[in-house]
Amino acid sequence: MTPKERMAIPCQEMPEQDAVVRARNMKEVALGFTAEQAKIEASRCMQCPTKPCMTGCPVAINIPGFLAKAAEGDFDGALKIIKETSLLPAVCGRVCPQEKQCQKFCTMGKLMKNVDKAVAIGRVERYCADHGDAGEVVCAPKTGKRVAIVGSGPAGITCAADCAKAGHDVTLFEAFHKAGGVLVYGIPEFRLPKSIVQKEIDGLKKLGVKVETNYCVGRTRKVSDFLEKDGFDAVFVGTGAGLPKFMGLPGENLVGVFSANEYLTRANLMKAYLEGEAETPFWHGKKVAVLGGGNVAMDASRMALRLGAEKVYLIYRRSLEEMPARKEEVHHAKAEGVEFLMLQNAKEIHGDESGKVCGMTCLKYELGEPDASGRRSPVAIPGSEFELDVDTVVVAVGNASNPLIPATTEGLEVNKRGNIVVDEHNMTSIPGVFAGGDIVLGAATVILAMGEGRRAAAGITEYLKTK
């Protein structure tokens, strides 16, 4: 096929639940391609010899390679190629910000002068992961070395799988009662079905990984105990960025103000959406303001709708363009009825005599000069205060790293933000202790966490050879 012919192949639309219907249910929003659609979409790839898309992928998946297989309808073959470098394609196909990664560099998108017309790499990846079979994984012969993995998010899952494949005896420790990290407590069912995460955890168990939930490392046992008393040869710390940031607003501790972590954990992990069945209560606000502009803010606002809110405002201090959330989630949130209040921010939250939220004063902003990050920084417009009638406020302005492990691990070097410092093999300042994911990067992405878990596993295997 000539490039012209390929350009004539229509972009495939992802089937999804109707916006009005889905805004009130928990089922997955995007339904996934049909086999035919996956083949057609994959055949839009021009197989550029320079493979620009790969440079956009944090783990450098051989994208043209797997798309070629998918175009032939060989989804098993495609999945095998993906799995050479990515462990969690069913997850990443759903949650990666593709428009900022692979698809940003796609030649098709460039030719069509629209990144939305790039090959839908993520969606084809998702199809391959959901329907392909990459075959049995074979583990290397047992090395007799024992590795402890702390935290069961994407970084921990990946590091555990790779260590098990390398023949080490692996135990995964998780503080919560369910493994999966943000994938189970944060990202909602309607975006990432929990059965997909469970499949990955079951896969780990098949590789021989022991999973110990309800185990808070630093409290139940310290990292040093693992190495000195419990016979582990190496430890990987992938504890994520689980420390909710608040804004320091007056009224932030009123009843009805939640961190997005709390709001989403109640709804997802604790299943508060199963009303009458789940024991964890949920705050059913009618008029909800969500503060923030990332994926977390999108998830919280869409969750609010699903749990019965009549009005949901998403309040962000910059403009739509600077918003860090995945484009698809922004589209979905808007279609479902979330009202976007851009260039605005909360100034003060008001409470009634029972201490419950009864309103909020906001300020309008304009964009000023670009700041150190290159983004134009928002500047408050004096005298622009206005009142917003809300009964619930969800603060989704980001997460810092949880200090528990650094505070209980002597000699573990952290930077001024509290993130663990690692070398190019993801080893920390303590020999034999590795770290990766959000605890190293600060709140980042699933794919980066996965990449770090991989690199650390390779580092661990190298390190254990020297022992």
Binding site: R219, R221, G242, F246, V255, N261, R266, E279, W283
Partner: protein, 282 residues
């Protein structure tokens, strides 16, 4: 899974359970707590203070009152059954005067209702560190006292019992003997554990005397590891997470009114859930 090895009913709504949890038993210090789940699928996560532990037996002791659906379900578990999940030990251990810094001195421990249970290991440690320990135990009526014998072993004749209705010990509120002790002088520290309203009034009572007053808070929690902020309160001008910064705080600095309101946030849902659970056992 944590197997129940002993169970005893201490009063109408209060139970003592000894459960297997060897790692927690080995690590825990007075003042720390655990998060318990009775059902890992749809259950809730509830914080309970560790009342006692035995390294030898690898067990911890929990004393709880059937205040909600989960504690009610827990009270129906028997020896040989298991508690689905126990996470811990969580929180900062109690600072014991004389052991963790400072000279031993005169300490007054105030335990209200079931608050006597978490007070027990603290009073024990205080005594062991050479402090002069007075214990005030308060309850609505005689039938609601727990662990009187154990507390008497620690405080001897410095155990003051007080009930709302006078059915045992003095008639009145714990703040009355507390005030008298402060008045008499030479109290170095007060530790108060019990219903929030009792702790609030203990702190108000000691404030004019400038006596350091430590309280142990039991706010709503989910994870217990500092990741949700649901347990946050205002102490002085700062926001603190009870699960990691506490559970003990300076009672004179806690914003009690805000905390009481935050603790009532799910009252209607909790009442409904408890009623539902009650019906299951009828």
């Amino acid at each position: 899974m944590n197997k129940i090895v002993a169970k005893e009913q201490l009063s109408e709504n209060v139970f003592r359970m000894e459960v297997e949890a060897p790692l927690i038993a080995a690590e825990r210090k007075a003042g720390q707590f655990v998060i318990v789940m009775i059902d890992e699928d749809k259950g809730e996560r509830i914080p309970l203070t560790i009342a006692d532990a035995s390294k030898e037996r690898g067990t911890i002791t929990l004393i709880f009152q059937t205040v909600g659906a989960s504690t009610l379900k827990m009270s129906h578990l028997e020896v040989g059954d298991s508690i689905a999940a126990i996470l811990g030990p969580l929180g900062q251990p109690t600072h014991i005067m004389g052991r963790d810094g400072g000279k031993p001195g005169k300490v007054v421990c105030v335990g209200g209702g079931i608050g006597v249970a978490p007070m027990h290991p603290i009073a024990q440690a205080l005594k062991a560190a050479g402090n002069d320990v007075t214990i005030i135990m308060g309850a609505r009526n005689k039938g609601l006292f727990v662990m009187e014998k154990e507390m008497r072993e620690i405080a001897g004749d410095k155990l003051i019992l007080i009930t709302d209705d006078g059915s045992s010990g003095r008639k009145g509120l714990v703040t009355e003997p507390l005030k008298e002790l402060c008045e008499a002088g030479a109290v170095d520290e007060v530790i108060a554990i019990g219903p929030p309203i009792m702790m609030k009034f203990c702190a108000l009572t000691t404030k004019p005397y400038g006596v350091k007053t430590t309280v142990s808070l039991n706010t709503i929690m989910i994870d217990g590891t500092g990741m949700c902020g649901g347990c946050r309160i205002t102490v002085g001008d700062e926001t603190k997470f009870v699960c990691v910064d506490g559970p003990e705080f300076d009672g004179h600095k806690v914003d009690w009114d805000q905390m009481l309101k935050r603790m009532a946030i799910f009252k209607p849902q909790e009442a409904a859930a408890k009623e539902h659970a009650c019906n299951l056992y009828k």
